[in-house]
Each structure stands twice: as C-alpha cells, then as structure tokens.
C-alpha cells in the first residue's frame, strides 16, 4: 500500500465517520421529546458530521490529485460559523413563541426573568402613557 492510498483510505474513513455522526443526529431528531432537545441533536452532531465529511473530501483531493481546494475550506469555515448561530436563533424564536416543552422538563429558569422584564416594561409604558399595541398578543400566540 503506497502512502497516497493510505491517505485516501484515511480520508474515506473520515467521511464514513461523518456519515455515522449524521445518522446518530437523525436518530436524535426523531427520538427526542421536544424542540429544545431536538435542536441539540440537529445542530451539534450535524455540524460535526459536515466538518468530518468536508475534511475527508479535502484530504482526498489533496492526496489524489494534489488539489488543495480553498472552496472546501471555505465551506468548512462557513458551516462552522453559521450552524451555532442558526440553532441559537431558531430556538430563541421557539421559546418566544411559547412552544410547549416536554413533560419531563424539570426547570425553566428563563421564565421568571421573562415575566419580570415583561411586567416592568408594562409598568413603564403605563407610566409614560404610551398606547400598547397588539404586539404582545401576537407573540404570546402559540404556534402549532
């Protein structure tokens, strides 16, 4: 086995590992009870999966054709930057839209803080005599 064949084998191993991570992530997204736990499966492990796979493709092209693809590296950097942001934003929207949590949820520490902030904002508004628009009702509506 020459050195290039060995490196190609390692690259294929990377890609297979990435596919296994994606499969584990898919199991998580079908088995976990509510949207907050599902996002854990959907963002963390799929980020690792795409990272391993693109790294494997980069190593393969480097060993097989001597082609160091900047586009693959850019893709890795982009996914690594954006996947946590996307996961955070979508779960923030889900919490604000009052998506129901699983029955096994023990504690929701953010709820008290949100209630307090909302109450203070309401008091401030009534002191300054501002008209309350329908905005809060829309955000309280549960999306189903």
């Amino acid at each position: 086995m020459s050195i290039d064949a060995t490196i190609e084998f390692i690259a294929a191993l990377f890609m297979l590992g990435g596919a296994m991570m994606a499969f584990i992530s898919a199991i998580g997204i079908i088995r976990l009870p509510d949207v907050f736990t599902r996002s854990h499966a959907g963002t963390k492990s799929s980020t690792l999966a795409v990272l391993l796979t693109l790294m494997g493709a980069f190593i393969y092209f480097a060993a097989n054709q001597g082609f160091y693809s900047v586009r693959l590296l850019l893709g890795i950097a982009f996914v690594f930057l954006t996947a946590p942001v996307a996961g955070h934003v979508i779960i923030r929207a889900a919490y604000r839209a009052n998506v129901k949590m699983a029955d096994t949820t023990v504690e929701d520490e953010l709820k008290d803080v949100m209630d307090k902030v909302r109450e203070e904002a309401k008091k401030e508004r009534s002191e300054s005599g501002e008209v309350i628009i329908e905005d809060e009702k829309v955000s309280d509506k549960e999306h189903s």
Binding site: I29, I30, L74, I91, S144
Partner: protein, 94 residues
Amino acid sequence: MIQGMLTAALVLYGISICISVFRIIIGPSLPDRIVALDMVGVMLVSSIAIVSVMLTTTAFLEVILILAILAFISTIAFSKYIERGTILEYRRDD
C-alpha cells in the same frame, strides 16, 4: 474498498435525510420542522461532497458553498417569521 466505504456513507446520509423528512412531515410545531429542514440542508452539503469524491471531480464544490448559504439564510428568515410574523419589517423606531 474506498468505493464501498463511500457508498456506505452515502447510504447513511440518505437514511438520515429520509428520517429528517419524516420529522418535517410529522413535526408538531413549526420550529421542529425548521430544525429538521436545517439539518436536511447540512446533510445535502456533505452528501454532495461525497458524490464529488466518488466521481473524482471538483466541479461540485461550488454547490457546497451555495447550499450552505441558502440553508443558513432560510433558517434565519423562518425564525424571524416565527418571532414577529413578518420577515421584512417596515416599522421604524421613531
């Protein structure tokens, strides 16, 4: 050997995409579906990388970048829609 491993990886990605599509169909709330949709986009990116390795061509590598950007933008747009009900806001802070 390497071809077999790549085929196995592609099959695993196919199964994972099918499971995520199932979650998109049955998902009880809108954010569930969007999390699954984001995952489908990310998995498409990596399966296209595997396809381009199997065909030993570098022509598909642009597709990776475009798909990653599209998946990110669509997730952000959907989450803005959930939070506010509108995607582009016209209200000004007077």
